[in-house]
């Protein structure tokens, strides 16, 4: 994508939250207000969302910072994100609102930094295409808006 360069002079927004999985990563955000199913919701080979009537249907989270409300659906959630990692199709980091066992285990086996309980709603602050740095060890998310 051509939008991975951060425009000069752009201000950034900093959010604070809780580490779910440690580590640091940065990348372009892909944001959805729809919860995501793992099994039956994503293609684990390329990281695309496949659920009918899903806002992100046909789009991939591979190498992106996935920002979403949380997990839903089958207990195969972790296994599918696990396989996405083994296939090199997992997101670089995850930011989500609602803690569940599906998302916690899924984030753990994805081996990517993950955060929750941010001090502002990440779905309201972060838009698809924004550049996002996730420093889960220090509980910091830094957002550079794509547009001023």
């Amino acid at each position: 994508m051509s939008e991975t360069l951060v425009p000069k002079g752009q201000t950034t927004i900093v959010l604070r939250g809780r580490k779910v999985v440690g580590g640091c990563a940065e990348g372009e955000a892909i944001v959805t207000r729809d919860t995501i199913s793992g099994w039956g919701g994503i293609n684990e080979r390329d990281g695309t969302v496949i659920e009918r009537r899903h806002e992100l249907r046909g789009q991939s989270f591979k190498d992106k910072i996935l920002v979403f409300p949380g997990a839903k659906g089958s207990s195969g959630w972790s296994a599918y994100f696990h396989m996405a990692r083994l296939n090199g199709a997992s997101p670089r980091a995850m930011i989500f609102n609602k803690m569940t066992t599906k998302i916690a285990l899924g984030a753990v086996v994805t081996h990517a930094p993950a955060m929750t309980e941010l001090d502002q709603d990440p779905l309201a602050v972060i838009e698809t295409g924004d550049w996002v740095k996730v420093d889960a060890d220090n509980g910091i998310v830094e957002i550079t808006k794509r547009r001023g």
């Binding site: 999985v21 919860t35 039956g40 919701g41 997990a71 839903k72 659906g73 696990h82 753990v108 086996v109």
Partner: protein
């Protein structure tokens, strides 16, 4: 997280590398959740079988490697000992007797059978069904479990009053070896209280209507805890099996209360136990129609494939299908697969139900389902099913279109090859 002395020993490797890796996963998972400790469990239902094409490479390294990576999230290959908790295998990708009907290559069927020898020798019971509660694993109220399978989890919590979160392949793999799972969520009594009132303003009685109600309210309440009130009739195992599966598919419902019916709520007040009512869902004709329309994405009335039995059919459901088919033949253009747990298939064979279904041209399948296996009859474009869960997932997973209806409508579609169902 606070660990007991025995848990610390397991973590430190005193009881072997497999338990150490299992504890490592449980601690990472528990900390991700924000759990303060683990709880003992002696009832694990997980997914161990290696039956998918993507696991072929891993299987070449041996089943210890499969278990290490996929059931413990461990790149280190550990030697897997016998399970310490009572453990069973949920649904798999392959019918051990009918894999050719599914279109599964012989080598994958062999891979699953070799895997079962390995898992079986470590004490994992090969129930091979999404409904362990139909074949002998019926937890007692209050029992701490570590179960996967969203339709089984919601049944375990709501209908049986046992306690489980929706676990995954890795956490059940670790729980089976350690007898531990994070003490979080539905293991804690106060988290099991109701959050939403559901006012059922129309009669809900037959199995299709329980499915529609579940599918509608799951989408509204997501993973909150609905409490039913109003005009439903006394449900049975098969109705609640379908209801919970539907609610867990459209949303993430893991627990509900039906006052005076499910074990943790004699009354609406007891269901909420002081928890504030966060929302009210009204369910009437309009909502029923919405659920129906959301489930029916097909337009072509020619039906290639009829799928019955998700969650796996009870023996009574198999009998109903056999009765509806008795002496009739299904269309040459349509395939019919009826799914039931292998242990119940034994009864179906003995009773002659299997023969009745096969004489009509159908197949009785076990161990798997099309959504899990991603295998349907070749060339299937349009499927008819009595399962809200399959109608929800099959189009997403396989790209087919789906009709959803009653078992009777589906059997008629198998016979005529045409969908004439509708919302009665």
């Amino acid at each position: 997280m606070k660990l007991t002395d025995h848990e610390k020993e397991m973590f430190d490797g005193v009881h072997g590398r497999a338990k150490a890796r299992a504890m490592d996963l449980l601690v990472r998972y528990g900390e991700a959740l924000g759990a303060e400790r683990l709880v003992e469990t002696d009832n694990v239902a997980g997914a161990f079988n290696a039956s998918t094409p993507s696991v072929r490479e891993l299987v070449k390294k041996g089943f210890d490697a499969v278990y290490s990576e996929l059931n413990l999230d461990s790149a280190e290959v550990v030697e897997v000992p016998k399970m310490v908790a009572h453990t069973c295998q949920l649904i798999t990708g392959i019918d051990n007797a009918n894999w050719r009907v599914q279109g599964i290559p012989d080598d994958l069927a062999e891979q699953q059978k070799r895997g079962e020898e390995y898992f079986g020798s470590r004490g994992i019971n090969m129930f091979a069904t999404c409904t362990p509660y139909q074949v002998g694993n019926v937890p007692v109220k209050g029992e701490h479990c570590a179960w996967m399978e969203s339709s089984a989890v919601v049944y375990c919590n709501s209908v049986l009053g046992a306690r489980t979160n929706t676990e995954g392949k890795e956490s059940t793999g670790a729980a089976a070896l350690t007898g531990r799972i994070p003490y979080w969520g539905y293991h804690i009594k106060e988290n099991r209280r109701g959050s939403h009132i559901v006012e059922v303003n129309i009669d809900v009685d037959d199995i299709m209507d329980w499915g529609l109600l579940g599918y509608y309210l799951g989408e509204i309440v997501d993973d909150e805890i609905p409490v039913l009130t109003g005009r439903y009739k006394q449900p049975s195992l098969i109705k609640l099996k379908h209801f919970g599966a539907a609610a867990a598919s459209s949303g993430g419902v893991e627990m509900y209360h039906i006052p005076d019916i499910t074990p943790e709520a004699r009354t609406v007040e007891e269901a909420f136990a002081g928890n504030p009512v966060r929302g009210t869902v009204r369910y009437g004709d309009k909502e029923r129609r919405t659920a129906y329309e959301n489930l029916n994405c097909a337009t072509d009335r020619n039906v290639d494939f009829v799928m019955l039995g998700c969650p796996h059919n009870s023996i009574d459901q198999v009998w109903l299908i056999a009765s509806l088919l008795d002496g009739r033949k299904i269309s040459a253009n349509t395939e019919l697969w009826v799914h039931t747990p292998r242990a119940l298939r034994e009864v179906a064979d003995r009773n002659g139900y299997t023969k009745m279904i096969m004489d009509a041209g159908g197949h009785v399948m076990s161990d798997t389902c099309p959504a899990i296996s991603r295998h349907m009859p070749k060339g299937t474009k349009t499927v008819a099913t009595d399962s809200a869960k399959q109608a929800h997932y099959l189009p997403a997973i396989t790209g087919v279109s789906a009709w959803f209806g009653s078992v009777k409508q589906c059997v008629e579609a198998a016979i005529s090859g045409r969908w004439d169902g509708g919302l009665p």
